[in-house]
Symmetry: none
Subunit: 241 residues, 2 copies
DNA sequence: GTTTTAAACTTAACATAACAAGTTTTAAAT
DNA sequence: ATTTAAAACTTGTTATGTTAAGTTTAAAAC
């Protein structure tokens, strides 16, 4: 760590080290499952005290980015794509359901104002919308609207979204997701929604809005999904913390 | 810290310190909101290095038991009764709302089958139901059904449920809650529910079923609450761990 | 070749020291 | 009395050691 870092001061050294580690992960220098260099090697690379390095690493272990084991080493933790937390969002009644999606829209626009605001996208930049209907054994069960900033949207259209889940594409190209907030509520189906889902207008639907952040704390994805309430339940495990 | 602790070895010192701190909290020696002694005082009391003491304290801060602020001190964190996890269940639009409840039913019965099953109550024992309508500034916004095993129900009716929240009564008499599961879904209001909530029949409502467990891992409370969707949002914070 | 042993790695735990940066208390100045 | 400044607290950050405890590797013994 250079002197000017110590002198600029405001940002603690261990946080700067954290950022360097995160950068190595985001640039795929260290990939999920990889062992990062040992403490002694990182001490040489970063030129900080062991205390400081361990503070940075332990912090990332706490946040679920790294995983350390005594004697073995420290590796970048592997997470299933898009899976955050312990909640199991989708609880359909049958296991044998065949899932697939029917794409409704893939569109860049300046006018997705709510998503633009949540994603912190400047007004002169477009937002990408990816809209699908999710089917289970031929029945439509949910409408998914998936918004991302322009540069991520371009990544997505380059991939084959008919074949790959957007979460998987993002995590392969844009680093892993670290944190998200869900807002769960209920709405009455509009005639158009009822039409898509094959239900009567006014039926109750579960609405889930999600805002996801990457390990660099920047918003990655805003989505709104509405589920048929008769096919869906959202489970949350709660504990003190 | 005595020598035999260091020599028995297996349990790290900082974990032993953690246990001592927790013991002080459990025995109400240090109460929620209290500032615990400063680091220098605890160093004298425990006879360990600052590193070790801070490791114990920081660990408890991470777990949400303590809360430290530079320059001020470290205090035992206050958890609102019945509040588990980071989700903030109730997000009504205005801050100035005056909340109160109107009691509908307080009843012991053998026939609350769903609750009986979830609470693991034997068939020859009654289940207690406490049913209310929650009001915000005069508007009804939710119907709350609160089920407990018989012995807890008896505690509740002895307290003044017009004055005290059942969660608070339980945590004062029956220990704190440790874990809970929420199931969130959506339903259409029945005519009776619409009547109670002052809305049209068929309106969308958010339905939350909760099963709570105490420190002894036994079920304490099963509840079902339905909220007017226009006044309610359920927020969940998700993170890797 | 196989097993055993020791060495060389890894992270975990603990102590001591010094300084920085907030907050409160106290004493001084007005 | 009020304001100001200094001192005395508090937790936060960083450095430098040392020893312990797992895991892997390499050498030695068979």
């Amino acid at each position: 760590m250079e002197d000017q870092n110590k002198e600029t001061g405001r940002i603690p050294l261990y946080r700067q080290i954290k950022q360097l580690i995160i950068h190595n992960i985001q640039t795929k220098h260290w990939k999920p499952g990889d062992f990062i260099p040992s403490e002694s090697k990182l001490l040489d690379e970063f030129n900080v005290s062991r205390t400081t390095l361990r503070q940075a690493i332990n912090s990332l272990v706490q946040e679920g980015v790294l995983e350390s084991r005594q004697g073995k080493g420290t590796q970048v933790k592997i997470h299933p794509p898009g899976k955050l937390g312990e909640h199991s969002t989708i609880m359909f009644q049958e296991e044998g359901d065949q899932f697939y999606s029917r794409i409704l829209r893939m569109e860049f626009s300046f006018t997705f104002f709510q998503a633009q605001k949540h994603l912190n996208v400047p007004e002169n930049e477009k937002v990408f919308l990816f809209e699908r209907v999710r089917m289970a054994d031929g029945d439509p069960i949910a409408i998914l609207q998936f918004y991302t900033p322009q540069h991520i949207g371009e990544l997505l259209i380059k991939s084959d979204l008919h074949e790959h889940e957007p979460y998987a594409v993002i995590e392969e190209n844009n680093g892993i997701l670290k944190q998200a907030t869900d807002w769960v509520s209920a709405v009455n189906a509009t005639p158009h929604e009822a039409d898509l889902l094959g239900i009567r207008g006014g039926e109750s639907l579960v609405s889930i809005s999600r805002l996801s952040y990457g390990i660099d704390e920047k918003p990655v994805e805003f989505s709104r999904t509405i589920y048929r309430a008769d096919r869906f339940s959202y489970r949350v495990e709660l504990a003190h913390n």
